[in-house]
């Protein structure tokens, strides 16, 4: 029987906790849900001692892969009641719509594919570094390096249900101890995965080194207990300035912050791409795909496209045509990728409707039914409300030179889509200097290595491990106590 209000289960080190439930959520029309009173379980959330990390080193990387592969099989939504329930409840909390969520859940087992994980780890860290000391001679010493698992707390984002799964994966393969604070926009999925792990192997070290719970971000009484250097070594925080800023007050020697800053993405298109109808159609398909996938909730989703078509009348006319083609292409995309947004941001709707009145300076294509819109600027200016662009709303901006575009790549930029390829060299080099982190072919922002790659310039996997050094003198290295004054070199 389903409870009348859904539960965000706490799953702590192999134990499922569903007692002392209290109510959360319910703001601004959101659903309310129940979760164990976090203050009652606070003491169990952190690992009692770093000594308890030993068990992760009694199993091999291959053992971990076997575990994850089996978990992946059990995460088949058709056979997993926990996930089914989580998906059902997540329709209400998630920012995206049912078909997109269904697809996320459908694809979840593929994340646990052995080959894929092996590739992810080898690319980001290098499996030998996790399994052994990797030795190299340097300056008369043999220096060995090994990547050790850390005790980490993750404040994950909730704009896609895969982020909890990804965090569990990353924790397992790095032999980390992982605490996940789930967000109110995805309070169910991670707990469902963790419950599956408990059913599968309650005493396995990977199960034992995972704690999943909900508490209200900013609950100082709770957080000041957990966020202590004797409990955790790293805090990995997704999300806005407020959540990251708020975490920084717990940062002290012994706790490192990995800040996955909120980002946004833009694209750059060379004017030559608008020369003929066929190419223009291709560009429209590419833009639409990068804008609309996942309904533009992810940081990698394109929100602005700069086109070097010139800001003269001829350029603007071409851009309007591209805008219409982009809008049409967006509506044609399959619903596993994108749908009419769940709820079009009313603030954005107001802004788009206001923009319609300024038809000297902007052309608005679509948007009357909250389905998304293409906003074509007639000057080299992005719309004033560019920070609000979401729910399948993209701004096409005409520019005269590439330099103008690079000016808008800044510290908030994640992905930059490029078309045609001939622009890549200049865009990625200059863009990197300005703050861009990831450069992709236009249309492939979500169709690349995915989050198994380095994600973005932050490279979270490399930073989740502790890099430990071991040094031995090479044979023949003269000890200081046998050196003359002249021979001694204490060099940093």
């Amino acid at each position: 029987m389903k409870p009348d209000r859904p539960i965000s289960y706490a799953v702590i080190r192999g134990k499922v906790i569903d007692t002392d439930l209290i109510e959360f959520g319910g703001r601004g029309g959101d659903i309310t849900f129940l979760a164990p009173d976090p203050h009652k379980i606070a003491a169990q959330i952190p690992l009692a001692s770093p000594r308890l990390m030993e068990d992760l080193y009694e199993i091999s990387f291959e053992d971990i892969l076997d575990y994850l592969a089996e978990l992946g099989e059990r995460l088949d939504i058709r056979k997993n009641d926990y996930l089914l329930a989580a998906r059902e409840y997540s329709y209400a909390t998630a920012p995206t719509t049912k078909p997109i969520m269904d697809n996320f859940f459908h694809d979840m087992p593929f994340m646990f594919d052995k080959k894929r994980i092996r590739g992810m780890v080898d690319f980001n860290i290098g499996i030998p570094y996790l399994e052994s000391w990797v030795k190299k001679p340097i300056n008369g010493s043999n220096v060995a390096i090994r990547a050790y698992g850390a005790r980490s707390l993750h404040i994950v984002a909730g704009n896609g249900p895969v982020l909890g799964a990804l965090t569990i994966l990353r924790g397992a393969v790095t032999r980390g101890d992982t605490i996940i604070k789930v967000p109110s926009n995805d309070p169910f999925t991670t707990g469902a995965i963790a419950r599956t792990m408990v059913d599968m192997a309650p005493d396995h070290p990977v199960t034992k080194h995972l704690a999943v719970a909900y508490w209200r971000g900013g609950d100082e009484a709770l957080e000041s207990k957990i966020y202590q250097p004797h409990h955790i070594e790293k805090i990995c925080a997704w999300g806005g300035f407020a959540s990251v800023k708020h975490v920084t007050k717990y940062i002290q020697p012994g706790i490192e912050l990995i800040s996955l800053d909120p980002k946004r993405s833009a694209s750059i298109v060379g004017g030559e791409a608008l020369q003929n109808d066929q190419m223009m159609q291709e560009v429209a398909n590419r833009i639409a795909t990068d804008v609309a996938t996942g309904n533009q909730t992810a940081c990698a989703a394109c929100r602005m496209v700069y086109v070097t078509c010139g800001s003269d009348e001829d350029g603007i006319e071409k851009l309007k045509k591209l805008g219409q083609l982009t809008y049409d292409a967006m509506l044609r995309l399959p619903q596993t990728l994108t749908t009419k947004p769940k709820r079009y941001d009313p603030e954005l709707r107001r802004q788009v409707d206001t923009l319609r009145l300024s038809d000297d300076f902007y052309t608005v294509i679509g948007g009357r039914n909250d389905e998304g819109a293409v906003l074509v600027s007639h000057t080299p200016d992005r719309v004033e409300f560019w920070e609000y662009l979401a729910d399948r709303t993209v701004n096409l901006i005409p520019v005269d030179t590439i330099e103008e575009v690079l000016d808008v790549v800044d510290a908030y930029t994640q992905t930059v889509g490029i078309f045609p390829e001939s622009l890549r060299e200049v865009v990625r080099h200059k863009g990197a200097l300005h703050g861009g982190q990831r450069f992709v072919s236009l249309g492939y922002a979500f169709n690349g290595p995915g989050l198994v790659g380095p994600q973005d310039g932050i490279e979270p996997m490399r930073r989740l491990v502790k890099w430990i050094i071991s040094e031995e003198p090479l044979p023949g290295r003269k000890p200081f106590w046998e050196c003359t004054d002249e021979e001694i070199r204490v060099v940093a």
Partner: protein, 482 residues
């Protein structure tokens, strides 16, 4: 209540014309009367005024015409039916910012002309090389006195107010502040020169500067001996814009990417220097006024923090009650993130020998200020229709019980612009209860938030940057800058 106006009520229309034209004159400048009108009568006049204004302004203001055409609205039969014709405040910054950076003031004139009935496009602005020079030219050659402001995004808004709008606005303050509610005005309340003390600039296109200028006209009746400002020059809208753009650029990680003309960027040090010296000069000015105008009736328009600093120092020196008892002290919010001292009201009232520190709710985009009553509610003048809009749907919430929504207003006295405005403020009104202070006018609860503030903080975490995140980052930087 929805009031049908199938047959036009000419006496109500005549009343509406009186209110629209100069409501203070119409009511004999009597504050008590203005706030004691029966609600039903007020709403009938408001509805008549809306239709008169719509008919008149539609061919005069292009943006309104487009909006009304798109909505297919020619007349309205209820107050709420006007909601689709209210314009978001952002429309006053909807120009492409490159026009400003490239100093295309002729094109900005064209943009502005669509928002006002006082067309500025006939003015030759080819020689203008700054915002100040552009707006000065418009001020001297048209009926306009365009008001600028820079929000947290760093975009400068241009609100095409007219000089008449400013005068009405200032008269509204004088009528509401100089008279005590419940009493008839004393002759001096309306006729006398009152000392206006404003510890800011004497003039400017930014509304803080312009308000000082018009306070000089309305309170001091133009007599320089009654008109006191800390800085006897104009605040520069260019420098304010520069400051906003510098902050915006820093928040994005590259303080050198400031899209303002080079000539303006060269004035950066000038701005930073004046900002640094300002607080000490303002305090010195207030102390000078305290000595010079002892026992006189004064009207002080200041930031709360400055009043507090002056009062605290005065009390420490053993002074108090320096001005005449019918003086008025109006404090303002001050910068976001700068907390007001807990004993603010106590210290200010004790030193200035006044019962309370007055505050008012208003904005550049409206003529009418709402003054806070003794029961902590802002009372809206009867010629302003209040709308509370649902945050999700944008539709008006019912005019009954207690409602909280996005505040929108229709100010029928607006001379230059349309008068229908959607704000970024979240406001609460109890429609059914008359305020204990005795005023019958619509009352806004004291606690007013920004809509954008309440939309954050719900523990929803996303990897995509939001405007809130950036605004917070900017507040943080601004705080660091002092």
């Amino acid at each position: 209540m929805a009031l049908s106006i199938e047959s036009r009520d000419t006496s109500t229309e005549r009343q509406a014309e009186g209110w629209m034209n100069d409501p203070y004159e119409y009511f004999g400048y009597r504050n008590t009367l203005i706030h004691s009108l029966p609600r039903a009568e007020v709403e009938a006049v408001q509805l008549a005024a809306m239709n008169l204004r719509l008919e008149e302004r539609r061919p005069q203001i292009q943006m309104l015409e487009k909006l009304a055409d798109a909505q297919g609205i020619g007349r309205v039969s209820s107050l709420d039916a006007m909601a689709p014709l209210l314009m978001p405040h952002d429309v006053y910054k909807s120009y492409p910012v490159s026009l400003l950076a490239k100093q295309k003031f002729d094109r900005l004139n064209t943009w502005l002309s669509r928002l006002t009935r006082h067309d500025p496009t006939g003015v030759d602005v080819s020689g203008c090389d700054s915002i100040d020079s552009w707006l000065s030219k418009l001020r001297s050659e048209t009926l306009l006195d365009v008001a600028t402001s820079s929000g947290s995004s760093g975009t400068c808004s241009f609100f095409p107010k007219s000089k008449r709008d400013y005068r009405l606005s200032m008269m509204g303050l004088r009528v509401q502040l100089a008279q005590k509610f419940g009493e008839e005005p004393k002759p001096g309340d309306i006729e006398d020169k009152i000392h206006a003390i404003i510890p800011l600039y004497r003039d400017g296109h930014a509304s803080t500067g312009a308000f000082a200028k018009y306070a000089g006209e309305i309170f001091a009746k133009g007599d320089p001996d009654y008109w006191h400002t800390a800085f006897n020059f104009k605040i520069s809208s260019d420098l304010m814009w520069l400051a906003a753009r510098l902050r915006a650029a820093a928040a994005k990680g590259d303080a050198s990417k400031v899209d303002v003309p080079a000539s303006l960027l060269a004035r950066r040090e000038e701005w930073e220097r004046t900002q640094k010296d300002m607080p000490a000069q303002q305090l010195e000015f207030v102390n000078r006024m305290i000595k010079r105008l002892q026992g006189r009736r004064v009207f002080v328009m200041s930031t709360s923090n400055l009043l507090y600093a002056a009062a605290k120092r005065g009390l420490e020196e053993g002074l108090s009650g320096v001005f005449a008892p019918d003086s008025v002290f109006m404090g303002g919010g001050g910068a976001k993130g700068v907390p007001l001292p807990g004993d603010l009201e106590d210290v200010v009232c004790k030193f200035f020998n006044t019962k309370r520190m007055i505050s008012s709710y208003g904005m550049t985009e409206m003529n009418s200020f709402s003054v806070l009553c003794d029961h902590d509610r802002y009372h809206v003048l009867p010629w302003v229709t209040v709308f509370l809009l649902d945050l999700d749907t944008g539709l008006p919430l019912p005019r009954r019980a207690t409602q909280t929504g996005r505040a929108a207003f229709f100010d029928m006295t607006q001379d230059s612009t349309w008068g229908g405005l959607i704000t970024g403020d979240l406001v609460t009104v109890n429609w059914d209860q008359q305020c204990e202070c005795g005023r019958t006018s619509v009352a806004l609860e004291k606690k007013i938030n920004r809509v954008s503030e309440i939309q954050g903080g719900d523990d929803k975490i996303s990897c995509a940057a939001t405007p809130q995140a950036q605004a917070e980052a900017m507040d943080f930087l601004t705080g660091l800058g002092g």
